[in-house]
Amino acid sequence: MKSISSNLKEKIAFLRLKGGDSEAFAFFYDHYVKQIYRFISLKVANRQIAEDLTQDVFLKAWQYLVDQKQIKNFQAFIYRIARNVVVDYYRQHKAQDLPLEDFAEKEELSDETMTDKIDFDIDTEKLLHYLQKLKPEYQEVLLLRYVEDLSFEEISEICQKDKANIRVLLHRAMTKLKEIIKES
């Protein structure tokens, strides 16, 4: 979560960025490059590809600004570009493994705190491997929530869904992940 002063700095930089200030762009690059790289690398599982796609993301972001399109929230904006870049990459390379869709989804919405009580003794790399078997939207919501530590509000802006849907999605994602782990 961001502090008040970092929020303020970002807002000022954002105003300058909308005016085409390249130094403001550098500010956003420094601020988001690690997150965007991490987000992409967890999806494509390849450093070289992740680096190339991350570079594309920032170039596209700049191009969007140059075309003077309106942006309200830079974080949501750049994550959306990252998602689209990854989707385009998958379309071109057809590299994505098909997610495990045959697990039945559980409809009941039990309290999220239930997951806190279950202990999973599992290697982190294996966990990543299981995570990559999930549907893209499940992967995204788990990565954004637990790896990038974003709030539901921030995730809802990135995924362009309302907060309630994000909570449901997160619950379903966790449930499926647990099923995959247990099956493995």
Partner: protein, 437 residues
Amino acid sequence: MNLAKKISQIKHLPLCQVDNDWERTTKHQLLSEIYSQHRLMKAHSLTAEERFRLFSMKITRRLMPSLAKTVAFLLVIFLGSGMTFAAQASVPGEALWPIKRGFEKAELTLAVSSTKEAEVYIKHITKRLQELDKIVASTKSDPDKQIANDKVLKQVISYLGKDTAAVDKTLQIVKEEKEAPLETVLLAQKVKEVANQTKDKVIVLEAQALTNNNPVLEQALAEVKTASADADKTAVKVAVEVHQEVVASAAQNVEKSTNSQADQKQAVADQAEVKAVQTAVAEIIKSEISQLTTDIQDSKKQAEAVNSQVNKDIVQVTPAININGDVISLKEISEKPKAAEGKLGEAKLLLDAGSFKDAADKLLESKVMQENIGSALRTIEKTVKDSVNSTSTIEQVKPISKPTTLNTINTASTTTEINRAMNGLDIQAKPESEFLQ
């Protein structure tokens, strides 16, 4: 640990850690791209009056007092003749070095255009090369100073790398700004010349660093070599692209022209410009061909030398090389430069036919092959040298008559090193024992 916390641990995996060098390089590339796009965008969207106003503002801005400009101006004027002249010969560590660097920064600040900026960088690169000569000469005359001089050398090499990368980027900006085509091509020629001088110097220093077993210096030199190779490629690419644009523009003007006097004058001027640019670009490509011919000849000699050394000194390590099922000897590596020569021959034909773009593409292919060969040969040379210097057991081992005698030598690491070198040439090296019956 609960699952949510476990998921959060994923951020600590090595895959998720950004490489700092990549981060810095990408930032620099993005900002250069953005900067050149931004300037181009601004230029395109202006009316003629606005452009004139912007131009005059640019000149005024460069001359208007600001702290940096004032300091720069004072440095140039007051320190102009005496101290800066004395400082020209200084190197890092000497008293006048900061004045020299200050003067150089002032020169950059006062450059009125990107072309001038590139020329200043070229001048600085030439100075860095002179400084390297001075430091090397100093070490030769007083070997006790080697350690101190190595530090100074590394500093100068670092500046050289930065200046070379900067001239590369500035040339790209000059190209994007669509300055006078002939001026751009002539600038590309200068960049190419200085990049070649840098490359030659680096090769000499690399050999010394290898002899003195100085991996830190080797690494620094490798970076400069990459930067100068990139600058060289940019120079050729810019020259060829400008030529294509000039030819296309002249052709367009011919299509649109009427028989008016103005149009006829324009056509004549266009033709003259095309011819001048063509001559300059042809010179650049010829120089590239000449340089590459020399490099390929050197590679051939190097391959023969490595081959004879391997045969003489370490018979047991000589690998039988498996290329697509055919077993050939290390000796035949000298055939590899011929493929690069073939591409070079094609480039010459295309140049003679006036197809500069295609000639440049063939040159690039030949260059990449040549670089791979050179890099593989260097690695093999180093591996052979390390094997000769390593243990005395090598001297005791007799030439192979049976495969089992290989067990007395540690061929694994040598073969692995050679494998890595060969991978650059798409071939696999295996110990001879695997192929002996």
